[in-house]
Amino acid sequence: MTADSKFHHGEAPDVAPIIEMQNIEKHFGNIIALAGVSFDVKPGECHCLLGDNGAGKSTFIKTMSGVHKPTSGQILFEGKQMSFSTPRDAMEAGIATVFQDLAMIPLMSVTRNFFMGREPTKGVGPFKRLDMDRMNEIAMTEMREMGINLRAPDQAVGTLSGGERQTVAIARAVHFGAKILILDEPTSALGVRQTSNVLATIDKVRKQGVGVVFISHNVRHAMAVGDRFTVLNRGKTLGTAKRGEITSEQLQDLMAGGQELAKLEGSLGGTV
């Protein structure tokens, strides 16, 4: 793994997890989407959630971010039992989710997107107004810290690349105090260079002590930044491995559910 040298990969810190999901089950009618999934995230780590299409990744993170209520199982947030009834509750507790799309408004400026829904104001009563100077400055600084130099804070988000938009969304979540950052397939639609930018951003966020949940079905992207890896298959956890305990081939096999991927892989020349 060449990316190894690039990121720090602190040995998954031996501290209490921020969030612990225990034996989460989720049924939709007679469909069992999750059949007892346990998962936890510690501060400053990047925990990858891997799984093929239909493995239950989306259902699981939606449970974590308050979109779905689990049918059974419990969620411990900073040691206390929690039950999120809306995504807003989870957000307020410090769980931010960055979706692949649906996060940015292309016609609006970076600054306006950055503060959307949480605009700082100055003045009182009817003269309360946006603190544009402060907004612009914070947006520029935060973006620069993530390695993106904006032309101007009033640049429309539509002019940014997919990776840069992802980064604005991540920077926004971190700025507003996210303790857990859930990234739903952040790299699946991106090119090589944009992908490495997003992975580098994940690394920066992790160093700030935020627990990152990185959902992907691309083992190589996961191996590049992950500290721990959990594989979901058919609604169940197939186990969690620390970095160094598992190879990408083994992960790939787990994701495919023990099917003879090796044979297939041989014929494809190890390209998947």
Binding site: M108, M116, T121, T141, N149, R151, T159
Partner: protein, 369 residues
């Protein structure tokens, strides 16, 4: 953050952006350019009387009446919705206002707030149906276009005992202390002073040719300024852009999208009520045709003003200029040798050019790739 720092980290792939490019990105550019074009056109073809002070007041009056509606419509369009019922809303609010003052004999201090309240309620019904059902606002408000127009007719007949015109508003409100805020001319005393000083034109008897600024122009300018301030400098403005740009992304980020949209429907209806109150008091009567086709004219003014039909982009100042262009063309043609009926051709043409222009601008702003 210093300018140097910003320079030092410049991306080498970014070309310097000239003043021209910056101006091009303003949503109101189209309307301002159109305004200049139309002004030049009439300077060349119209009787010079059009651009005397009284001439300007002459075309600003219809512009203001439309503009108040257009600003409401533009806010709603930026918020991602349409209201085709505002023209009928003018008739409906006009009927209610006239009936309250004439038939019920209520003083303005009760009749005016009641009219606004009723309009806001109708607006919120529009909004709630659109939001709850998820249907396009186009269809829902089209239904209300007919419902309100029909109710106005029926209501008029009930209030008058069979007639489709309700008269006597002017007499009913005469002497009411609130009347000067909604009818007649403002700054009369100032105009008298200016006339005496010879600064503005006077009739032979020394009275100023323009006795004052028609009150709707004052409202028009105030509302344009207020709407612009709200849009650009308050959190609510950010929510309006966000709700129209992508309602889903906005609510994911915590913007109260439903509240914003329903409030915008209420604001638009209240703009219609204001126009109704002003025009009914001005005319002294109301009829069922009041506000006829105004919904389309208001939307045209908003689109000329840079609003995108898809929402999330536009400006209130743009709608202001859109309405002024409208007023200039309607009234201006009477100062020229052209047949006045060219007005509709002109309006349609402007709309088409504006939409094409806005579409191109949007592609530039988003860098569409």
């Amino acid at each position: 953050m210093s300018e140097d720092a910003a320079q030092a980290v410049r991306d080498e792939r970014m070309k310097a952006e000239g003043l021209g490019a910056r101006i091009l990105k303003r949503p109101e550019l189209g309307a301002v350019a159109g305004f200049i074009l139309v002004t030049v056109f009439f300077l060349l073809t119209a009787d010079p009387a059009m651009f005397t002070f009284s001439g300007i007041v002459n075309f600003m009056t219809p512009a203001a009446q439309l503009g108040i509606l257009a600003i409401g419509a533009s806010l709603l369009m930026i918020g991602g919705e349409f209201d085709l019922s505002i023209g009928s809303m003018v008739a409906f609010a006009g009927l209610f206002f006239a009936a309250a003052t004439v038939t019920l004999g209520l003083p303005l201090i009760i009749a005016i707030p009641a009219t606004f309240l009723l309009s806001a309620m109708v607006g919120s019904i529009n909004g709630i149906i659109v939001i709850r059902s998820g249907l396009p606002s186009f269809i829902v408000t089209l239904a209300f276009l007919f419902v309100l127009r029909g109710l106005s007719l029926v209501g008029l007949k009930i209030a008058t005992g069979g007639s489709t015109q309700l008269r006597g508003v002017r007499e009913a409100v005469e002497g009411d202390w609130l009347a000067p805020f909604f009818s007649g001319d403002a700054f009369g005393a100032l105009f008298k002073v200016l006339a005496d000083a010879g600064i503005i034109e006077t009739f032979n008897n020394g009275a100023p040719k323009v006795p004052g600024l028609p009150i709707e122009i004052v409202w028009f300018v105030l509302i344009a300024l207020l709407a612009t301030w709200v849009l650009l400098r308050t959190p609510v403005g950010n929510w309006i852009f966000a709700a129209g740009g992508d309602a889903n992304a906005a609510s994911n980020a915590g913007v109260p999208v439903r509240k914003v949209k329903i409030s915008l429907f209420m604001v638009t209806a209240c703009c219609a009520a204001l126009v109704a109150i002003i025009t009914v008091m001005d005319a002294g009567s109301t009829d069922a045709r009041r506000g006829f086709m105004k919904e389309f004219e208001a939307i045209i003014a908003a689109v000329i003003g840079g609003c995108l039909l898809t929402g999330g982009y536009g400006s209130a100042i743009g709608a202001f200029f859109g309405a002024v262009i409208f007023g200039m063309v309607v009234i201006g043609l009477t100062y020229t040798d052209f047949d006045q009926d060219w007005f509709q051709v002109f309006l349609g043409g402007m709309l088409l050019v504006a939409v094409l222009f806005n579409n191109a601008i949007r592609k530039r702003v988003t860098g569409e790739r």
